[in-house]
Symmetry: none
Subunit: 206 residues, 4 copies
DNA sequence: CATGAATGAGACTTCATTCAT
DNA sequence: TATGAATGAAGTCTCATTCAT
């Protein structure tokens, strides 16, 4: 009887419980996907690490690949949000020109991925255009892109050129990071950084 | 006497047959790996397409992943060899400066991968530092790298900086091509090319 | 309330079902292992006979050889337990001296294996010292050994000698049974029995 | 032309060569069968070790199991022949009674198998009544059995009893050796020997 | 909502045997 | 007689997904 009264309370508790389970699932999956790769991680292992039943897995996602995308989007949004906040804060303290702001933003991401190369690896290995588009629909992520493009449109540049230039910068920085941090190429990211930023500046210089 | 002749003929026929089989295997596997991805391609399908028996598959490679590497290395060496030849030929006809030669080389590769984006996809999705090192041990591939670095050493630049600059250029070009040609991002490679080459020039300019 | 009852019922039903499946698996595997040998029995056949899916097989054992051991240990323990019970019962009805009890015990086993030579065959063909040790950790099996040794220690004999004598008796009886019942040597076990028991008595006589 | 003349010589050479190949095949197979077991040894490995081609394997035996039997019979005959010779020699030097001769013979075999437990293992693991009968048709092996039985018939004993007694002794000694030398039971053969010979004597004593 | 036993298609790989040379 | 590349049936085991409870 008491139980019936607590209907609302119960559902709240249940939904909290659900959220908790989802987080455990996401974290366990991320840890395994990063460490072993998506194909090499089996659902059995994920649910065991998450402490949930196998059937429950399919209550939270369509399949393993759907889960990868969800995790990537969630974590990427989080990083971008923080990067934007840090940029705003820094800019408030000591205003920077456009190139300075871009470099600051890139540097923030590089420093983050230096500590979280797992995530970078996961993103790169599961990249697709469809995922990229989904990401752009996230407010936290798409905003950065818009700011970049707006600068060029304000400075009277051709919008197409601006987009392509962004595309090249992102490709370049991403690839260099991936090679350095994930493929463990012999080029340490800290050694490459000066040269990399020099390149970014040159490209942006128009 | 007839017998002796037969002996030679025999072994020739057999080894020709063997070569033929290997090529059929490599081609069938490449077609499937490119079209469907390595993990999604099953050995059964490869051998059916190649018209060989399943057991024969394991006569030519340790397993599916060994085959991927063999195919990538073989095809990459082939492309690089041709690119080097074309560069030499073109340079003979109308000599170019260093930057011109680099751009020519890059352009040759881009044009090739435009027609063979399957190979580019296969390479990227199976890239690892170990594979990269194996590639560099191929005369046809490693040579291009050496030529690039030699230029910088001759021009009195710092060797470390030269290597890093090469690393950045390769990362950038590779990523742009991959995104354009494989991920089918909305940026057509031909539209991006001018901007891309402008970036390459700026980076090389020192 | 009804729900709570259901809960118990559910788990009972499920676990009963599970036990049933396991027994079907064990029985089918035993039948095939005995009739055709372990190596000649394929998992496909076992699961077909047991009426379970292939995957289910690996829910109950690591592999085919793990299953053999499990079956041998389970059945051996069962036989030994019954032999001990029969011995106790018989001794209660008409008490026997030590040698008499040993012969009774051996005779019980021989009569059992006469009807179940399949099991004897399976045991012998998959015998190893490690399996022997696992068997000795079974209460039902190890106990018989202890009783035998205790007799000698009580009668003041050397413990080492007792153990070796047991070892010889077990080896002898086992081999004679195996040759007679499994290898189908022309020596019928019933014809050899008198001579065999005479040997046992002589050996035990000290 | 010269070749044709040498017909006889050639065939001799060829047959010598053939014999050599057969020996290499037998020795390589024995080494592998002993070390890894018959089922775990693949034909490919045998021929590689023997330095012959795969197809040649089937020129010398029907299949792997046929080869095992051939090897066992050949080696067993060799051991028995030597044991008989040693017994005759020893008996000439200092004549022994029947039991003494049996023990000498057993001891010779045990000492041999102590150095060649591989062979004992191979024999036991591939024992069948049909193989036993083939062995008895070998002069070198069957003779020992006949001598044993003749003794009993001369001493007026029942022939059936004699055969059974032999059967029990052989079973007992064989099993004890197998357990000690092959299964590596904790009972060292040298420790068990005195007790074992005591048992043999008691059994033979009638 | 949650569970986890059961499923079974299908993956990879091995290897005894054949047969054209 | 000798070869060894080719065969392909047969083997073991995995794992995403379902569904009765």
């Amino acid at each position: 009887m008491a139980e019936r009264k607590c209907g609302t309370l119960k559902s709240t508790k249940a939904s909290e419980n659900k959220k908790l389970k989802r987080n455990r699932l996401y974290d366990a999956a991320f840890e395994l996907f990063s460490r072993k790769g998506v194909n090499e991680t089996v659902v059995d292992e994920i649910v065991k690490h998450a402490g949930i039943a196998k059937g429950t897995f399919y209550l939270y996602c369509k399949d393993k690949y759907d889960l990868v995308e969800k995790i990537i989007l969630k974590r990427s949004a989080y990083v971008f949000e923080n990067a934007m906040k840090a940029l705003a804060e820094q800019n408030r303290k000591s205003p920077m020109d456009f190139t300075g702001r871009v470099i600051f933003f890139i540097d923030y991401l590089i420093e983050f991925f230096k500590q979280n190369s797992n995530l970078l690896s996961l993103i790169y290995k599961n990249l697709s255009w469809s995922l990229y588009e989904k990401a752009m629909n996230y407010e936290e992520i798409g905003e950065a892109k818009q700011i970049f493009l707006r600068h060029f449109s304000l400075s009277g540049s051709n919008a197409q050129t601006a987009k392509r230039r962004l595309f090249i910068v992102v490709s370049m920085v991403g690839a260099v990071c991936y090679n350095s941090l994930v493929l463990k190429s012999p080029y340490d990211i800290d050694d490459v950084k000066p040269e990399l930023y020099r390149c970014v500046k040159k490209i942006l210089a128009g």
